[in-house]
């Protein structure tokens, strides 16, 4: 489908990120869904570093050994 054809038919939008895009489309009666999404750990470097450390946990077998 050519890109221009996309805008000549009814749009159904899934929006991720800035909610104002979703709100604006909704106010123009465009069918739109806002994805409830947040960056991992809210983007906190400290929390990401802690979560990453936990990915390197020992296996139960290693512990037994």
């Amino acid at each position: 489908m050519a890109l221009n054809d996309l805008f000549t038919q009814e749009l159904k939008v899934i929006n991720m990120g800035l909610e104002s895009f979703h709100d604006e489309l909704k106010s123009q009666h465009v069918q739109t869904v806002q994805v409830a999404w947040k960056p991992r750990a809210g983007g906190s470097q400290k929390m990401l570093s802690l979560l990453n450390k936990l990915k390197k946990v020992s296996s139960s077998k290693e512990k037994a050994g």
Binding site: L54, S58, K63
Partner: protein, 420 residues
């Protein structure tokens, strides 16, 4: 080959799923609760001093001192509470839980719940009903009189009736109520009705006077929250053994004292992770607004910790008329709780979710990763002592509790040499 955390969490999950909370009796707090004594007042949430207590908790403490005969007036009670002669401790440190202010004093009757699978016990006072009540921080003459009626009439009748009836399986009661439109925290209509159906014939068989039997049945029937004080200790009895599972990242306590919110995690045992309690977004009774509200208070979110209450909102669409929102919001709340829990409960099932089990086993890693905080539906107390409930709504724990917990959890695993 599974990792240490997965293995520990599986153990924690099995403890929650296999628990058999059972109502086995009633007793007086001073004779029944471990470490309970006359100069000790138990309260909801993590530890807090008199100086830092919020209005409703102070009100309930003052009422408790008057009820115990340790003070004659509210002024005398406040003076005694501040004097250092009275000790304060969380209910949770004495195997107990209490709704809202959660004040327990030595003379108060308590329900005794035993987890038949792990042989531990949990305790909770009897629910006082609605209106001006101690748990909401009210301490007037009518509040004290009602507490005395509960001790002198309600307690002996129910104690005898339960002895006649025999133990009651609370897991079964909660499972049935979840299929009848209760989420078993703020909506307890079905749970209470089922409880009365069980108990009524035995109440009639007691040796109490006709007048007292009628008064007891009328009181139980007038108070939809009668069963809240059974579901809370049932959840406590279910979760306490989780607190002994080494290296598990599962939350086994969430509680608020009106000043701070606190959580405890299996791996870190008795340690509380606290942050300031939040104001509740909810529906206020006529004449009251958010300005009147005290920050979040009570041990009742032990129900959410077990995976019912706010976690089971989908099964209780009627609750949204009390706490705000739409039936679709209720379903969304439950769906989002699957994102932060380990599994589904095999017995607690919800018809509106195509009989999926309630979201079970809050994992601190998932809360941090997704930034989805547990959802709690709760009552709202007035910020000043002596007034009582002003509304109900939905609230979440501060993220800071989970951030501190995660940090301590990683430190512990590192100290135990379990991280590469």
């Amino acid at each position: 080959m599974t990792d240490i955390i997965a293995e520990a969490n599986q153990k924690a999950l099995e403890i929650i799923q296999n628990a058999q909370p059972t109502l086995v009796g009633l007793g007086i707090a001073g004779d029944t609760l471990p470490g309970m004594r006359k100069d000790l007042i138990l309260h909801a949430g993590p530890p807090v001093t008199w100086e830092k207590m919020s209005g409703p908790l102070r009100g309930a403490v003052m009422g408790g001192l008057i009820y115990e005969g340790l003070a004659q007036t509210p002024e005398e009670a406040a003076e005694l509470a501040a004097s250092g002669k009275i000790c304060f401790d969380p209910c949770h440190h004495h195997d107990a839980v209490g709704p809202m202010a959660g004040v327990v004093t030595a003379s108060m009757p308590v329900w005794i719940i035993e987890n038949k699978a792990y042989f531990n016990r949990a305790y909770c006072t009897m629910n006082e009903g609605l209106g001006k009540v101690l748990r909401m921080g009210a301490f007037g003459e009518s509040v004290i009189q009602h507490l005395r009626w509960m001790e002198q009439t309600l307690y002996p009748v129910l104690k005898e009736a339960l002895e006649i009836h025999g133990e009651i399986d609370l897991r079964n009661l909660i499972a049935q109520a979840l299929q009848m439109g209760d989420e078993v925290h703020n909506r307890n209509k079905a749970t209470t009705s089922l409880f009365i159906r069980e108990m009524a014939p035995s109440i009639i068989k007691t040796g109490a006077s006709q007048e007292d039997k009628v008064a007891v049945l009328e009181f139980l029937n007038s108070n939809d929250h009668t069963a809240l004080n059974l579901s809370m200790p049932a959840a406590k009895a279910t979760l306490d053994p989780v607190g002994k599972v080494k290296h598990a990242s599962v939350v086994y306590t969430m509680a608020r004292n009106g000043t701070e919110f606190g959580i405890r995690v299996a791996a870190t045992g008795d340690r509380w992770f606290t942050a300031p309690a939040e104001i509740i977004d909810g529906l206020y009774f006529p004449g009251f607004t958010m300005e009147d509200a005290n920050p979040d208070i009570g041990d009742s979110c032990i129900t959410e910790t077990m995976g019912i209450g706010g976690f089971a909102m989908a099964t209780a669409p009627a609750i949204v008329q009390f706490v705000g929102g739409t039936p679709q919001d209720a379903i969304n709340y439950t769906k989002s709780m699957y994102e932060i829990t380990l599994a589904e409960h095999p017995i607690y099932k919800m018809p509106s979710m195509n009989f999926r089990g309630t979201p079970t086993g809050i994992d601190i890693r998932s809360v941090i990763e997704t930034q989805i905080r547990p959802v709690i539906n709760t009552g709202i107390a007035h910020k000043d002592p002596g007034i009582g409930q002003v509304g109900a709504g939905v609230v979440r724990p501060p993220m800071a509790c989970f951030e501190q917990a995660l940090e301590a959890y990683v430190e512990l695993l590192e100290a135990d040499g379990l991280l590469e």
